[in-house]
């Protein structure tokens, strides 16, 4: 094969690699906790974790609402002390303050980033689209467990959620039926 043909193939392959970086990045983040996203595990798996009664970890809950979204979003308790390995529920309240139905979804983030590898949820409302009717108020629960393997140096971690309006959801919202079928 001619040199230039090989090089052209290489260039095209590298363009593809640029896109491959997206899933690769997710895998990389899952392994290293690079982007502070949390893991999800099954209930059964969580039940097998040994509870470390000796140790208490402070978990802070932080809530944010992107300013394009007319909702309020609060954690019932802003801070909890938990034993690693123990399944714990945290309750959040969302409320639509507008007179229109709105679709939004929550994006989680954990600080310090290193801790995100050890913060697992069995039940979570993140990354799922949520529709609230006008003035509707709803309680949301996160069931989580801190992995007993959490490095000893980490004693406080923050679970933060930001609610964003789903881009382009205005059109869909006019007909809630469409939301159910197409979006959820």
């Amino acid at each position: 094969m001619r040199t230039e043909t090989k090089l052209t193939i290489l260039a095209i392959a590298m363009f593809g690699f640029g896109y491959a970086l997206v899933p690769l990045y997710d895998v990389f983040c899952e392994i290293t906790g690079l982007n502070g996203k949390t893991g999800t595990i099954a209930n059964t798996e969580a039940a097998q974790l040994e509870v470390d009664q000796e140790r208490l970890v402070t978990v802070e809950f932080d809530t944010n609402v992107n300013s394009e979204l007319p909702w309020s979003f609060l954690a019932q308790a802003h801070k909890m002390k938990v034993h690693p390995g123990e399944l714990t529920d945290a309750v959040f309240v969302i409320e639509n303050n507008s007179d229109q139905p709105v679709v939004a979804q929550a994006v989680p983030s954990v600080a310090p980033a290193q801790a995100s590898l050890f913060f697992n949820k069995t039940e979570c409302f993140c990354f799922t689209q949520q529709m609230l009717a006008p003035r509707e108020r709803k309680e949301m629960t996160v069931r989580f467990v801190v992995d007993p393997e959490l490095p000893k140096k980490i004693s406080t971690l923050t679970l933060s959620y930001t609610y964003f309006k789903v881009p382009g959801s205005d059109r869909v919202v006019l007909d809630p039926g469409v939301v159910d079928e197409e979006r959820i």
Binding site: T3, E4, F17, L21, N35, P112, Q114, V166, P167
Partner: protein, 533 residues
């Protein structure tokens, strides 16, 4: 030799050389295309430089005197894009076009029509980019790094920015393919890889970097485009995407890009220092390996551009160690250049002056680069004038000084006339003094707490900004001397010999000055004696 022929910069009575505008528009000749690249780079150097003057004028004193903040941001953004993609890269490609066929003993580049296309894409791409100044919403103002979500706030100019980047990428990739194809297939008999002049070596490595990274940049800006117009959310947190991922993908391109700018400069300096020390390059093999290791390592250090985004400790440690390790091969290069000078028989014509000052001033940029590689301290340096000083030290008295050294070094070969040495020296001394006056105070500004990319500042930063601005205006004006020297040299002057410089070795110096339209029509035989300029 008639005056007209001299004006065209060539003399060869046997070739059927096309004349008029068609000669340039449809050119497939490596020398003509090289000339066009160099002239284009020089024009863009002044366009980008004019923007730098606007920036320095606004920053001359606190308060907003000349431009509004949004236009100021456009200036810093477009200045960077123009200088990187319009001035430094095309100048490097121009020198490669001119010199590589002559250095390896071939008649022309391997793919002459592709060569023509890769050049003519450039003016087209920059027309797209610069036309955004006249659009609603203005020119791109989110920084040349185009971080989302900010870049997505740009008005009508956004798709133009993205397509301009695509075209620039295509141009660079085509140029790179051509250079590799030429070196791999068109070397003269006996010209083995380990006999290639270092300039050729650095360009092969640069070309591979281009082919490996430009498509990644194209991919990432395409994702920006689809995020903005087609509802994808690669980088939008609202849709479950990740704005930081853009930075990772961008700098996966962006760090090798830094070496794309500087490796050809290393090559030029490695040609010039031996010629004026009249002594072979010290440690040729280790120079080749050091260049290759720098290029290889450049793929593993990208995240040092984004230490402050908040990575886990392990990530920050990895990227800190990887970054520090680049100092080793870079150090080897500096030591080898010094060892080449050691016990030489040196003279200091303009190319050598630029090359020596490159070694010193590039090293200052290297030192501050090492400082910023130390993650905990980078948390203070990041996005301040300290980094502005750092990358301008490696790019202006670094890359651009080396390119100028190359132009002075090879100008007599190209035109057949010696340039005006006195003017050249004046150009050098003014440039060297004012470039330091321009950029050295920026270290202080950064350390004292001035962030980059701000149009206005607290009065405590006034003095050093004034010094820097005065240095900037003087440096900018000094560059007009270069234009005068080049024009004067093209028009006439003392006749240059074939070898031009007493200590110059290599195939390019065996050709007449100026060389024939097609460099080597019969391939020369390369022996140990004629290799290693």
């Amino acid at each position: 030799m008639s005056e007209a022929v001299i004006h065209n910069g060539h003399h060869d009575h046997h070739d059927h050389k096309p004349y008029g505008i068609g000669r340039w528009l449809f050119s497939t000749n490596h020398k003509d295309i090289g000339t066009m690249y160099l002239v284009f780079a020089l024009i863009m150097f002044f366009v980008g430089g004019a923007m730098a003057m606007v920036i320095r004028a606004e920053l001359f004193q606190p308060g907003l005197q000349f431009v509004n903040p949004l236009f100021f941001n456009s200036m810093t953004t477009i200045h960077a894009l123009v200088m990187i993609f319009g001035a430094v890269m095309p100048a490097g490609v121009g020198l490669a076009n001119w010199m590589i066929p002559m250095m390896i003993g071939s008649p022309d580049m391997a793919l002459p029509r592709l060569n023509n296309m890769s050049f003519w894409i450039l003016p087209f791409a920059f027309t797209l980019l610069l036309s955004t100044f006249f659009m609603p919403g203005g020119a791109p103002a989110g920084g040349w790094t185009m971080y989302p979500p900010l870049v997505l706030q740009l008005g009508d100019g956004f798709p133009f920015l993205i397509f301009a980047i695509h075209f620039l990428g295509i141009s660079s990739i085509l140029g790179a393919i051509n250079i590799i194809a030429t070196v791999f297939n068109m070397r003269a008999p006996g010209m083995t890889f380990m006999k290639l002049p270092l300039f050729v070596w650095t360009w092969i490595i640069t070309a591979f970097l281009l082919i490996a990274t430009m498509p990644v940049l194209a991919g990432s800006v395409t994702m920006l485009l689809t995020d903005k117009f087609f509802g994808t959310s690669f980088f939008s947190a609202a849709g479950g995407g990740d704005p930081v991922m853009f930075q990772h993908v961008f700098w996966f391109f962006g760090h090798p890009e830094v070496y794309i700018l500087i490796l050809p400069a290393f090559g030029i300096v490695s040609q010039i220092i031996p010629a004026f020390a009249r002594k072979p390059l010290f440690g040729y093999e280790s120079m080749v390996y050091a260049t290759a290791s720098i290029a290889f390592l450049s793929f593993f250090v990208w995240a040092h551009h984004m230490f402050t985004v908040g990575m886990p400790l392990t990530g920050e440690l990895f990227f800190m160690y990887a970054t520090m390790s680049i100092a080793v091969p870079t150090g080897v290069k500096i030591f080898n250049w010094v060892a080449t000078m050691w016990k030489g028989s040196m003279t200091f014509e303009t190319p050598m002056l630029f090359a020596v000052s490159f070694v010193v001033l590039f090293s200052i940029g290297g030192f501050t680069g090492l400082m910023m590689g130390i993650t905990p301290v980078d948390f203070q340096y990041h996005d301040t004038y300290f980094i502005v000083a750092h990358f301008h030290y490696v790019l202006v008295p670094g890359a651009i000084f080396a390119l100028m050294a190359g132009v002075y070094f090879w100008l007599p070969k190209w035109t057949g006339h010696m340039y005006d040495e006195r003017l050249g020296k004046i150009h050098f001394w003014l440039s060297a003094i004012f470039v330091n006056m321009l950029f050295f105070p920026q270290h202080f500004l950064g350390l004292a707490g001035m962030p980059r990319r701000i149009p206005d500042y607290n009065v405590q930063f006034t003095e050093w900004n004034m010094v820097s601005s005065i240095g900037g205006f003087a440096f900018g004006l000094s560059q007009l001397i270069l234009v005068w020297v080049v024009i004067k040299c093209v028009r006439g002057g003392q006749k240059a010999t074939d070898q031009v410089w007493e200590g110059a070795h290599g195939l390019e110096w065996t050709l007449p000055s100026p060389p024939p339209f097609h460099s080597f029509t019969t391939p020369p035989q390369v022996t140990d004696a004629t290799a290693h300029s």
